[in-house]
């Protein structure tokens, strides 16, 4: 009994020591992440507009911004644009990344070099990527447009048509980020044990069967994690839209993030912009939970 108390006392003492040691880091973390987040939420409860400083402390209609958002056709439209962009880019990046990862999952120096080359888009600064695509999508100076015209397949500007602008953004975004999904999935593929592959080979499994029944179950978790990462990132889409379309034409590419930017920094509706940002954070959290649940409900095949 006495030994138990002694042990408990020591444990408590150790716990306090750990807490004390962690405290500075936790304080820094709180100051740099939690405080701004809390301020964002507080601001979202006011009609803050820097033009009218008094609005910073006006809590008379705390839900006013949220009510406005839910009845604002432009906000709702931006959600729809965002949903299309997110679904398409995440799917494209997963498919291209997975395809390339499967091709690159071979021991070869040439493939190693290719692997490095494929990483290039991801390591470029986003604004540089946007400028590259601005050139490629501007018919007057674009080698892409010139080449297509030269072979008798002229294409009109993709970023100024309401029907193609969003898909042009999605294509450029996928080009930028497929290396990320490729790397994640390649790492997962290289962790797949050799035994089941050899066994399936002996059993005469074809390539598709090998992928579907052997490799895919092993990389399912990696796929889910990668999808979540990309999904969250897709909600933050900004440089490509800012440079290529400015949210146009006629708001065809105005995603929620961009809508919040315009409201906050072009119109000075800081309170409203904060409410939009808060809704986006909430949406990203919910989406992440849903996607991760989808990935774990089926579980990984036990071997």
């Amino acid at each position: 009994m006495a030994a138990g108390s002694l042990s408990t006392g020591w444990e408590a003492h150790r716990g306090r020591a750990f807490a004390l040691g962690l405290a500075p880091a936790l304080v820094v973390l709180a100051v740099t992440t939690l405080v701004p987040a809390i301020y964002l939420i507080v601001t979202s409860l006011t009609p803050l507009n820097p033009v009218n400083p008094g609005t910073a402390f006006d809590f008379s209609r705390p839900w006013g911004n949220y009510v406005s958002a839910l009845t604002d056709a432009r906000f709702l439209h931006s959600l729809w644009v965002q949903a299309q962009l997110s679904v398409v880019t995440v799917m494209m990046q997963l498919l291209v990344g997975l395809g390339l990862a499967l091709l690159l999952d071979l021991p070869s120096r040439l493939i190693g070099a290719l692997r490095t080359g494929f990483l290039l888009p991801m390591v470029l600064p986003p604004i540089v990527v946007a400028v590259i695509w601005k050139v490629l999508f501007t018919p007057d100076v674009s080698p892409l447009h010139h080449t297509l015209a030269a072979i008798g397949l002229p294409v009109h500007s993709l970023i100024t048509s309401g029907g193609t602008a969003l898909w042009a953004i999605a294509f450029a975004d996928s080009w930028e980020w497929f290396p990320f999904t490729m790397l994640m999935l390649l790492a997962a593929l290289q962790m797949v044990p050799r035994e089941p592959i050899e066994a399936a080979t002996i059993d005469g499994a074809g390539s598709l069967q090998m992928f579907w029944y052997v490799r895919l179950p092993y990389i399912r978790q990696a796929l889910v994690v990668t999808a979540i990462f990309r999904l969250i990132d897709s909600i933050k889409a900004f440089p490509l839209i800012y440079i290529l379309t400015d949210g146009g034409p006629a708001r065809a590419t105005e995603v929620t993030n961009y809508f919040a930017f315009v409201q906050t920094f072009n119109f000075s509706y800081w309170g409203y912009g904060s409410a939009i940002a808060t809704l986006m954070v909430a949406g990203a959290l919910i989406l992440s939970l849903v996607v991760s649940r989808l990935g774990t409900d089926h579980g990984v095949v036990e071997h």
Binding site: N52, D72, P249, A250, N266, F267
Partner: protein, 444 residues
Amino acid sequence: MIRRIGRRELIGGGAAAASLLVLPGKAPAQGGAKPLAGVNLNVSCWSAAYPKYLADYIPEFEKQTGAKVTYDTPSFPVYNQRMDVELSTGGSTYDVINVTFIYSGRWIGAGWVTPLDDFIKNPKKTPADWGGDDFLEGVAGQLRDKQGRLCGIPWIADIFMAGTTHNEIVQKLGGMPDTLDGLEAMLKKAGKMPEMAGFIAENHYGWTFISFLMSYGGMVFRNPPDDLTPVLDTPEAIAAADYYGNLLRTYGPDGVLSYVYDQVVQMLKQGKALYSTNNQMFLVQMAGKDSKVAETCGFSMFPAGPKGRRPQVATHGWGIPAGSKQKDAAWEFIKWAMSKQMTERMFKEKNYSSVARRSVIEGPDFKKALTLNGFDVGKMYVDTIELAGKGYMKYRTVPVYPQVDREIDAAIQAIVSQQKSAKEAMQTAQANSLEQLKRAGVKL
């Protein structure tokens, strides 16, 4: 000694004047005493070419007066947000500020900026030959309060006009069009031209479309600044939007909606578009040394529409915040920066041509420098500014204009990309503008 400059050099510098500058005159030292010794002046302006040029001369002012100048030039949006808060709270941090054009209605109307007439008209503070009435009323008038008092001294005037890269082609088609109908007829006659679009404009339609809108008899607001009810869905506004959308869609280059101003300037300098309506500071770059069309470009005033000619004019001016505790010293700075001598020096030494002093504009040097391929751009400049003196630019000094500006952008994009008809697009712009103004707390 100040050397004379040629018109090409002027244009080259005018390119840089894609903003502006002002060169201060040499203020006389008074009896060896330094009248502002010990004074620290806080001066702020948004970052443009003009304030950057001015920075080169501020040491002269400091040396002559003994004042120390703390000079700050943040980016345009940062400057405006910072100054709006500063002025609205009656702050005394700044002594000399830029009265931003798009905020002038709010800042001057609310009494946040000091009227300058008492300084200009007081012979003890300003010598008679300083020339307070030398500034073109078309721009100065935009910086007056309701009592007609001048609240800012304009350091820039930029006008909307028209230009062609190939006057020899335009002449064969009947010459520079004087009307919007004539413009369309000319472009139709020109037809498809190899490697050259008929028309090009910057994709900031909240600026580039307004001259068309007003020349068709349309307005942005019913009666700014007193009645800010948007009137974007009137028959005149819809007709103007239809005309302009058709101009861009039919005669613009592929992807015209993506052209920002520097792309437009490059297109023009390379002769890849025949005709453009644009800011003077951009169009005159066609006559610059690095332009392929320097010898063939031509210019005219903005063409007249069915209801007249309404080219846009923009200005910015130096002012003194109401909260400044050093107003006399602040005026000394403005008086120095905007003196005739400094304006002349800015024009001659920095090639800055967007000046607002009539005596400089009407001088032989200015006329010579701005006579380009036989076109008297200087006269177009003065005539346009005088037109704007009629008061139709008031809409742009309304603080909520940025919201409406973006709605106009979206409307023109929708028309050009054929997502909506002109009527639908302008009705949407009207409805959205009303919503935006309501959110901004504007009583309609």
